[in-house]
Symmetry: D2
Subunit: 176 residues, 4 copies
């Protein structure tokens, strides 16, 4: 078994208010400070803000190689936002939501949207740790602290801040 760098999926819509963009930026920023990869859908809105935050958080002198990974629905790599380091154009449409959650070690939901909702649901069904930013509105805020069904004993972790969410994952990964 590989001792691999952790991967955190940041999920959220293509539209984002200033507040939600700022939250997404901080989330991405904290992920790179941990030396973890960021995974997202590679588009605009929450995804772009998270990737931008990730880039600015990354320590360029650090030997740990971490990347913002954009898993696109279509087959055109040029449609990724400019802060994506590794573009994965899948060509399988929004069925790629299942791959984003499958490849992630943990999932953070930021804000609204039905795309976000399908990914929260997938993350839960795949038994991944799921956190939701409690102040970000939309499905993330609605489902923070909730159970989606009785297959799991835990709940979606309600994170007040990006650091909160990171701490939740560190506990889940048994790093603290």
């Amino acid at each position: 078994m590989n001792q691999l760098v952790k991967k955190i999926a940041v999920i959220g819509g293509v539209e984002a208010s200033d507040l939600v963009s700022e939250i997404a930026f901080k989330v991405g920023n904290e992920i790179s400070k941990q030396g973890w990869h960021l995974v997202c859908g590679g588009g605009s809105g929450v995804m772009e803000s998270a990737c931008k935050g990730f880039r600015f958080g990354r320590n360029e002198l650090d030997p740990v190689r971490v990347m913002a990974i954009g898993v696109l629905p279509g087959d055109d790599a040029d449609l990724a936002n400019r802060y994506v380091d590794l573009v994965i154009p899948t060509g399988i449409g929004i069925a790629r939501n299942a791959i984003i959650t499958r490849m992630a070690d943990g999932i953070i939901a930021v804000g609204r949207g039905s795309g976000t909702l399908s990914e929260i649901a997938y993350g839960w069904q795949m038994n991944k740790p799921v956190a939701a930013m409690g102040e970000s509105g939309g499905w993330a805020e609605s489902l923070a602290g909730k159970s989606l069904d009785n297959r799991r004993d835990d709940v979606i972790f309600k994170a007040a801040t990006a650091v909160d969410a990171i701490d939740y994952f560190k506990k889940k990964f048994e790093l603290i």
Copy 2:
């Protein structure tokens, strides 16, 4: 363009109470009475009850050829419930949820579960008519009458009965 028989996806979990099973049975039953195909995940619980209701509602003398279609996550066709007429073992895991909603002309949610939730979200995102059985508990009941996000002006139709749901789809299909 083909004038094709309509396909309705019935989505719901592998576990179902007696009440939910009965609702699923009636939903399947009404779909076959309309001469429409039923699409589902092909498993037990809500899916099996719906397929059973479908089989008993089908007029065997009717020249309209309708089928209960089971779109399985795995590659073993034998895992379909016994009321499935056409088994589609996909081998793509729960990414097949995207195909169930993509191939359907309309979607009915019955009861609970995170799998159901991801399919409701996909149906909404794909701009399909989505109905939810209002008395069936779980995510179906919670989301009945709600909007998932602002990409659409309508809401998830809250159906009191199976006939209600059918009437909703007939209006959407401009059949009445």
Copy 3:
């Protein structure tokens, strides 16, 4: 376990010479005469000719309900050829080739093309019976009678006629 109607995938390109179209027509025709479903990519060329042959071979008075199933790469059901009875728009692009072969009980290759080649390879890898029309040119003709690798002891069956291919599948299905 269900006693299900068999499904045969007919694979071939969107372009087809008159000879190849005629072969595809006969293959589709014989499949429906057996009371089996036909599965294909739902497009033009070999796929359309096979579906057309299927429609003309179907005994409309027969209680066995068989269908020409078109598994499309895109999400627009209207792009299916007009002889498809059941359209499955997948939205997953040519990754749908894996689903066509996965859902089939047997596979017949007609003619040329790299799409056909990927499906022959998938059929072999999934351990399905694969036949190739020996006179149809392209990859079907080149690979007829050949082994693709040593995971299997058999070869791709070289069929001189559509009836030949059907007989091969009947033996494989232990129907004769």
Copy 4:
């Protein structure tokens, strides 16, 4: 548009002779020397040898961050070979072959097998530059220098050595 690091897919079977393993090692080695990512199915055989060669070719002092990316069919990241840097467990089975070729900027086939064959076919169909190691046996050797169908004017590039293959991609990428 991003100026992204190129990604080369190395495709080949889980079984590999000593000769084929050596070829795969050299191919992986040259890819990392170019500062490109390597993409593969993440398993044993050709995939493992290529990833191993990649690791030993990587200049650890180089600021270019390149990775051996393993795109697994299943959902268990622990099944990746130990030289994979970034594991993508897809959970979509061998339909993931379509994603490997879709995400790659160029494809190198090494050796035998029907899995390799489906990926060569996909690469061709997706209009990617495809090279095949001419001395590696199996489908790679058989198809080197050949056209798969008339959708393209070129052929699968026959590479005598790993450096040959790299030069072919550099020309295609207009780097020389």
